[in-house]
């Protein structure tokens, strides 16, 4: 809500500077977003008088004017206009002035010195008139600022009005509020309407069929209007409020709306099909052309202003093209009404018509102020458009609305606020806000809010007003006395916190990825532990963000590409977030994902090499280890997930359930997403991983007898998974075998082509004695024999 302070002064005497005014409003809950000084741009333009004029000696079209602005000597100004004469008072911009169009300097114009510039209205941005100089009244005081002389200097404050304060969407409303906050008085103006001619009731009948949609409908008829531009003062105020002047009739309706918060509409009376107004549901009426020339499809529940059959306006939203006021209009029907907020809102939203009128109706206008606004508009039309106001007002007000009394317990006020508040405090505050207050039972007050405060209906609403108007700074901060239990962080969050630190400690940077995904991204990266159908957004910002992600991997792919486009190729990033999918309803679950792209993080000199599978596997293993899940997990080649390279990716199995992936993207996708190279991804289903709550570790006795290590070297086909040997040894379960570790893999001579050599070290230990060589040899021989029978491999000596 843009509020002109000149206008505001019509209602309250502002005994404070702009900064304190803004502070008062802001600290009263009406935040001032911006302050604009109107006329500041032309503050150095002053009133000057053309003392003498003579033709420019070198140019036919130029005139040299001698201009004086006070008692000093006149200065020469070269001017191209022709509409002035000696003795005229004009707008003079001295050298050094910055006008909206540029800076004015002292200069030579074809050999004649020119000190400044004489301005047109267009050059001062007062209007579009560039036809000649702006000629001022003869009485305009010399040297006075043009802004002061024309009354355009003004301050406009832009106030953020919260949605529950429709009563503040007007100059009067802000004035009332400021008066309550600053202890000022609101000036009351008598609206004198001079009535003439045939009574309005003879010219128009009003009937409300839909009483729930229209609580009150008042109308006046104004005859013999002369349509034209409204006076400058009115235009200036409308512009200050952010509205565009149109013609005197429309400007009056807008002016009253801004001034009193009541939207009005003017119909061209001659063009109404019948002299009757019927407010009703649209029902079967299918379409209607609004005054912006757009045909609107109606919903049966829309509220219409009609003449019985024919719609002439969509109530509270926009008038019709057919009955719009035009240059030939001479009689208007003025409407001032109260429409049900949610009805107006539904229609305005559906039609996308967010007019100033609808904005106010949606927030509730003052049903008690309907006639006053109508009178004010009629009086203004008489004053500025020569209208004759017909006798009387037609006011259909089927059920007179009175605000319900609110009972306020003084003890409750203190209980909520936690600060001492007296009866007098409540009475004073509520009276300042225009309510009447009476004593009810002991310790209770009855508050009757004014009709414009639709938001005051409950005790808590009054308590808020007491706190707000008196100032929140008057309530002292206290610390609640509470029981000590609490401070609990969910186990899941605590453990995820541990994982995030673990990954960061391994050189990975945490990214936060938006939950959205493009259809293509979801098509490529179908996630783990999710159903294939993504959740769709009904009103996405763009197609790229039209679904919720099934997997975090798509976001990481984007992260790699974005970093590469910035010239950063070494990317080690992880992210924790939710994925979403559709089952019977939408589902969501937590995932942890990461990527290791380009070279492994720098580790001193010679630390550079491209990332490989072992790097990403190591990261995943450290996660599993952190969660103490190593013994429950196994790795197997990942063949069935098309996003991943079938020969370079693994499925992470947790107790035989698919719980994660690690590997590199399918080369087709690397090409599509422009991230070719060594990019290793992983994604883990945290729901599955975190379902296992690790038990507290139980201490195992430290070994008291030494272990004996025997190496085992085998030759096998290159495709043979090395893990099968380890798996076999564990399954074999010899009581003396303590650990088995792969410590070398090699190809090339003397290993035949297509084969590889693997070397394991097996540690034997008994808990109760030192093993003898014979015992170990026997166990090792048994093991090697079993291995070579069970698996396709040869032992090497």
């Amino acid at each position: 809500m843009r509020v002109s302070l000149n206008w505001l002064r019509d209602f309250v005497q502002l005994n404070m500077d702009t900064a304190s005014l803004c502070e008062r409003l802001t600290m009263g809950g009406l935040e001032v977003d911006a302050v604009e000084e109107v006329g500041a741009a032309i503050a150095s333009v002053v009133v000057g008088e053309i003392v003498r004029m003579q033709p420019h000696p070198q140019a036919d079209r130029l005139t040299v004017c001698q201009v004086r602005i006070g008692t000093g000597p006149a200065v020469p100004v070269v001017c191209g206009a022709t509409n002035m004469k000696a003795g005229d008072r004009v707008a003079y911009a001295p050298p050094g002035t910055t006008l909206p169009g540029g800076r004015v300097e002292e200069r030579e114009v074809r050999g004649v010195r020119s000190l400044g510039m004489l301005c047109s209205e267009a050059e001062l941005e007062l209007s579009g008139d560039a036809s000649g100089l702006m000629i001022l009244e003869r009485e305009a005081p010399l040297g006075e600022r043009i802004g002061v002389c024309l009354g355009i200097e003004d301050t406009v404050v832009d106030v953020a009005v919260p949605p529950n304060r429709g009563d503040c969407l007007s100059v009067l409303g802000i004035g009332r509020e400021l008066a309550a906050l600053a202890g000022l008085r609101v000036r009351r103006h008598r609206i004198g309407v001079r009535e003439r001619g045939t009574p309005a009731a003879d010219a128009i009948a009003v009937r409300i069929d839909d009483v729930s949609g229209c609580g009150r409908y008042a109308a006046r008829v104004v005859r013999n209007l002369r349509i034209g531009a409204s006076p400058r003062w009115m235009q200036q105020r409308l512009v200050a409020a952010g509205l565009r002047p149109i013609n005197n009739v429309v400007d009056v309706t807008n002016y009253v709306m801004i001034e009193r918060g009541q939207p009005l509409h003017a119909f061209d009376y001659a063009r109404l099909p019948r002299p009757e107004i019927v407010v009703r549901r649209a029902g079967a009426s299918a379409s209607f052309e609004t005054l912006d020339g757009v045909p609107r499809v109606l919903d049966p529940d829309d509220l219409l202003i009609t003449t019985g059959e024919e719609p002439v306006a969509i109530a509270g939203v926009m008038g019709g093209a057919e009955t719009e006021v035009s240059a030939s209009t001479s009689v208007v029907l003025l409407e001032s009404a109260w429409f049900e907020p949610s009805r107006v809102r539904r229609t305005a939203r559906r039609l996308g018509l967010h007019s100033e009128a609808a904005f106010r109706f949606e927030r509730g206008v003052d049903i008690g102020g309907v006639p006053a606004a109508l009178d004010r508009a009629a009086a203004l039309l008489e004053r500025i458009a020569g209208g004759e106001v017909a006798r009387g007002m037609v006011d259909a007000y089927p059920r007179v609305e009175r605000p319900a009394p609110v009972h306020v317990r003084l003890q409750r006020v203190e209980e909520i606020l936690g600060a001492p508040v007296t009866r007098g405090d409540v009475v004073r505050t509520m009276k300042a806000l225009g309510a009447s207050v009476s004593a009810a039972a002991r310790g209770t007050l009855t508050v009757m809010p004014p009709t414009y405060r639709l938001d005051l209906s409950r005790e808590i609403d009054v308590i808020e007003e007491v706190a707000r108007v008196r100032g929140y700074e008057r309530i002292a901060p206290t610390m609640p006395a509470v029981s000590l239990d609490g401070g609990v962080v969910p186990e899941r969050m605590r453990r995820v916190g541990g994982l995030r630190r673990l990954l960061a400690a391994q050189g990975m940077d945490e990214a936060v990825i938006l939950s959205f995904a493009s259809p293509r991204l979801n098509e490529c990266f179908r996630g783990i532990g999710v159903k294939p159908d993504p959740v769709l957004i009904v009103n996405p910002m763009s197609r790229d963000e039209s679904q919720l992600r099934l997997s975090l991997v798509g976001g990481l792919v984007t992260a790699v590409r974005q970093n590469r486009s910035q010239g950063v190729s070494r990317v080690a990033v992880f992210s924790v977030g939710k994925v979403f999918w559709k089952d019977t309803g939408p589902q969501e679950g937590w995932r942890l994902a990461g990527v290791w792209a380009g070279e492994v993080p720098d580790q001193g000199l010679g630390g550079r090499r491209p990332a490989e599978f072992a790097d990403i596997k190591g990261v995943v293993e450290s996660v599993l280890d952190h969660l103490r899940l190593t013994d429950r997990t196994s790795w197997k080649p990942l063949l069935e997930v098309p996003a991943f390279h079938p020969g370079k990716s693994a499925a992470v199995m947790l107790a035989d359930e698919f719980a994660g992936v690690a590997g590199c993207l399918h080369p087709d996708l690397e090409v599509e997403f422009e991230i070719e190279g060594a990019n290793w991804f992983f994604e883990l289903d945290l729901e599955k991983l975190l379902a296992y709550l690790p038990a507290r570790a139980v201490f195992r006795e430290l070994p008291r007898f030494p272990a004996v290590v025997r190496d085992l070297a085998i030759v096998t086909e290159e495709q043979f998974p090395s893990g099968r040997v380890i798996h076999f040894v564990r399954q074999w379960g010899h009581p003396l075998v303590e650990t088995v570790v792969l410590f070398d893999q090699y190809v090339g001579a003397p290993i035949p082509p297509g084969m590889k050599g693997l070397a394991y070290s097996i540690s034997y230990r008994a808990a109760d004695r030192t093993l003898t060589d014979d015992e170990v040899n026997e166990a090792h021989a048994e093991l090697t024999a079993a291995l070579s029978t069970a698996l396709p491999l040869e032992l090497r000596r």
């Binding site: 600290m27 809950g29 935040e31 919260p162 949605p163 529950n164 907020p341 949610s342 809102r345 539904r346 909520i416 606020l417 936690g418 600060a419 409950r458 808590i460 808020e464 706190a467 707000r468 929140y472 700074e473 309530i475 002292a476 901060p477 206290t478 610390m479 609640p480 029981s483 000590l484 239990d485 609490g486 401070g487 962080v489 969910p490 995030r500 391994q506 050189g507 940077d509 945490e510 936060v512 938006l514 939950s515 959205f516 959740v535 769709l536 957004i537 910002m541 963000e545 974005q562 970093n563 910035q566 950063v568 080690a572 990033v573 939408p586 492994v600 580790q603 001193g604 000199l605 630390g607």
Partner: protein, 340 residues
């Protein structure tokens, strides 16, 4: 015999005095004390000494042997020390070469500030709760006293999801969900992602909030002020000015916006890029939980009162680190991420 011993002793000591280095000292040990050494030879000749002289010669022999061993060990230590000193004098590494450190990654600034806030509230006895990102109208709006077709809904541009659902526009639905399942007293915070149909340098369609609320008998607006002032001063530094000004949220009444004094300029710079010259920065919204919210979850507003608050985390992080574009949080540029 005694003279022979004295001569050997004198020779050996002289040799020790002359020798350099560990090897030469070892050579002297072999020459005099070795199996064929000169002193050992004397021992072999001992049986030729008349029996009555033998004890005296024996005593002298052992004295000299002990002395020589001691002196040789000393020389050896000296020689080794000298060798070490020489080695040390020649050993020089380039201490300006880069260290071989384990790579260090970073935690996202949003996550860091979120954790900091969670820590602060946990010390005040607030527990953490979470809720779904995909919400229904009831929990996101209706139970929070946003009537259907009310302009208050314009404050939060909503993403709708098929099936009459939506992406939560704030973390406040967690308030409703927690209260539906539990009875007061409650002290709960709810961190999480929220979504609004909005995008510019200060708005992202997804961002993060921390919701908090406390419900008990006799919780007052003064308590709200006390708890949040304490929290903000822990986060932004003790002595940070905190002010509350009236505002409107459908689910609280009275409602407040909470501002902190500009920590960059303290309100002294008219063109401060953080506070825009006002001296204050809006940090969070709060208020006393509206009786209608209590009724929606089956609490009696005459029995309990409470306060609730919500904080936009991105905004706080942007202020704390002077970050000028919210999109930086979500573009995954590692040059950005590594700064925190």
């Amino acid at each position: 015999m005694i003279e022979a011993l004295s001569r050997i002793r004198a020779e050996a000591l002289a040799a020790l005095d002359r020798c350099h280095g560990e090897a030469e000292v070892e050579g002297i040990r072999v020459r005099y004390l070795g199996r064929k050494g000169e002193l050992t030879n004397v021992v072999r000749q001992l049986r030729d000494v008349p029996a009555e002289e033998r004890p005296a010669v024996g005593v002298r022999l052992n004295e000299i042997k002990d002395e020589l061993e001691r002196r040789i060990d000393e020389s050896l230590s000296r020689a080794r020390a000298a060798a070490r000193a020489q080695r040390v004098a020649g050993e020089r590494i380039d201490v300006t070469l880069p260290g071989r450190r384990p790579a260090r990654g970073s935690l996202h600034p949003i996550a860091q500030v979120m954790e900091e806030l969670i820590d602060i509230f946990c010390t005040l006895g607030f527990s953490v709760a979470e809720g779904p990102d995909i919400e229904d109208d009831y929990h996101n709006f209706e139970a929070l006293n946003f009537p259907a077709d009310h302009p208050a809904r314009d404050m939060q541009d909503t993403f709708f999801v098929e099936g009459n659902l939506l992406l939560r526009t704030h973390t406040s639905p967690v308030q409703v969900r927690v209260m539906e399942g539990r009875r007061p007293p409650l002290r709960v915070i709810a961190p999480g992602s929220v979504y609004r149909h909005d995008s510019d340098v200060t708005h992202s369609p997804m961002f993060h909030q921390l919701e908090g609320f406390m419900v008990d008998r006799h919780v007052t607006f003064g308590d709200l002020k006390g708890v949040l002032t304490y929290t903000l001063q822990r986060l932004f530094g003790s002595g940070t000015p905190v002010r509350l000004r009236p505002s409107f949220f459908p689910f609280t009444e009275p409602s407040a916006e909470i501002d902190i004094g500009c920590f960059r300029c303290g309100g002294r710079e008219r063109t401060c890029r953080i506070c825009k010259g006002s001296g204050w920065m809006e940090i969070l919204g709060a208020g006393m939980i509206d009786p209608n919210v209590f009724r929606a979850v089956g609490y009696d507003p005459e029995e309990v009162t409470g306060f609730a608050f919500g904080m936009g985390i991105e905004r706080v992080v942007m202020l704390l680190h002077e970050i000028n574009d919210i999109k930086l949080f979500f573009t995954h540029d590692v040059r950005f991420l590594r700064q925190f």
